[in-house]
């Protein structure tokens, strides 16, 4: 499977995300000859324990993730414990039946994807389910020919250099950040998989929450 980096928009101090930034980012993609393809959407859902008494320790940050490239799969992550699970999407029905954890907040990551030679880019808004209240911006950079993260590292960094130069001209109030999780701690290797993507989205989610809390 091709590897990808999932980046999140880090606003400059004192600024917030807004739709104009998405428009500017889209124009940058098109300025480097990105060809617009279809729409994409990923969803992260926060699960919270249902408790009928006191006592016991239950995980915070228990997430479920649905990815567009794996329509029949679902990913469960407990990030503080470095646990990621890939399961059939029927796992959501099992969780529903168990009545031990309930789905609470859901966030959608959605937008358009673009082809740039051997790269595929996805630019997306972060929106609460059934809301247009923009919470963040993400970008996926996928390099199609290679599955090894280490082998692709240099070319990914070179792409980001080109990207940063294209963005610089627009004086945007922020920049995209790539913070690579320690995949080894999750039991994941160098060959890229959708579990790596799920782990990256969980990390992005943590960053988005930290950004909002930092502002508040």
């Amino acid at each position: 499977m091709p590897l990808k980096w999932v980046l999140h928009w880090q606003p400059n101090a004192g600024t917030t995300v807004n739709s104009q930034i998405i428009n500017e980012v889209t124009q940058v993609v098109e300025s480097i000859n990105g060809i617009k393809e279809g729409r994409w959407k990923a969803t992260i859902t926060f699960y919270k324990p249902l408790l009928r008494g006191f006592g016991g320790e239950y995980p915070r940050d228990f997430l479920g993730i649905a990815l567009p490239e794996q329509p029949n799969k679902y990913y469960l992550i407990i990030r503080p414990l470095r646990i990621v699970l890939e399961a059939d999407s029927t796992i959501t029905m099992i969780m529903e039946k168990l009545q031990s954890y309930k789905q609470r907040v859901s966030l959608n990551f959605e937008g358009f994807q673009y082809q740039l030679g051997d790269f595929q880019l996805r630019v997306g808004k972060v929106l609460p389910n059934q809301s247009e209240n923009l919470r963040g911006i993400v970008m996926e950079v996928e390099y199609l020919p290679i599955s090894s993260m280490e082998k692709a590292r240099q070319i990914m960094e070179e792409f980001m250099t080109i990207w940063d130069q294209a963005v610089l001209k627009r004086a945007l109030p922020g920049h995209f950040v790539h913070m690579e999780p320690n995949f080894g701690e999750f039991g994941l290797g160098d060959q890229y998989t959708s579990q790596h993507t799920a782990v990256q989205y969980a990390a992005v989610m943590a960053q988005l929450i930290a950004t909002v809390q930092g502002r508040n």
Binding site: F54, L85, A87, D88, I91, K97, S100
Partner: protein, 217 residues
């Protein structure tokens, strides 16, 4: 949903049962070795106590995991009249971290079993599976190599068939009809309703073994 019946047979008659099943099912048997881990929710977790099973298929080169939820049996006059149990079942394949995840979510080990035997997957009016297996317990946690039979000399036979709310009547009928062919060797009934071994088993097994299943029972 699934329709399910169970029964027991003495290990000495399993070979005869296999001959009979081979003739009835028309497919090759497949080896069966599954480690079944039954987890229950911790004392305060959930609106109600819950149970989930993790099934590890040890027959593969690389073990594969399935999460299995078994719901309560269908109730009502219609269900009572059926000779098979109809119940909700939901399964999900999962990656190898699944036990660790459920422990982290607050689930505890209730019991674990190792089932070793064989299975037939076939079509007879509906998709059906027959499993014949010894049920083994593990004196040491998760140690499948040291498993010992729960009931030495006795094996469990289970017939299951997937169904839906629209098809369960027909599926139940197909399962019941199939079970009639096995009647001389063993009696199959709803789980929890045990009828023991059948008195005709020895004679039926001898007949099957003597002419390799050519005899009509």
């Amino acid at each position: 949903m699934e329709c399910v019946v169970q029964g027991i047979i003495e290990t000495q008659h399993v070979e005869a049962l296999e001959i009979l099943l081979q003739g009835l099912c028309g497919v090759r048997r497949e080896p069966l070795k599954v480690h079944e881990i039954c987890l229950k929710s911790g004392p305060n977790l959930g609106a109600v106590p819950s149970e989930v099973r993790l099934i590890c298929n040890l027959e593969q080169t690389e073990p594969t995991w399935t999460v299995r939820f078994v719901g309560g049996a269908m109730r009502g006059a219609g269900a009572e009249q059926l000779s098979v149990l109809v119940r909700t079942v939901i399964e999900s394949k999962a990656s190898k971290n699944v036990l660790r995840l459920f422990y982290a979510l607050g689930y505890k080990l209730d019991h674990e079993l190792l089932r070793v035997g064989f299975a037939f997957h076939f079509q007879r009016g509906t998709q059906m599976t027959v499993t014949v297996s010894s049920v083994n317990k593990m004196p040491q946690l998760h140690n499948t190599d040291e498993a010992v039979p729960v009931t030495p000399g006795i094996q469990l036979v289970e017939v299951t068939a997937p169904a839906s709310s629209e098809t369960y009547t027909e599926v139940a009928s197909a399962v019941s009809s199939f079970c009639e062919y096995l009647a001389p060797l063993l009696h199959l009934s709803k789980p929890g309703i045990s009828t023991g071994v059948v008195p005709t088993a020895a004679a039926a097994a001898a007949s099957l073994m003597s002419d390799g299943g050519g005899t009509t029972l």
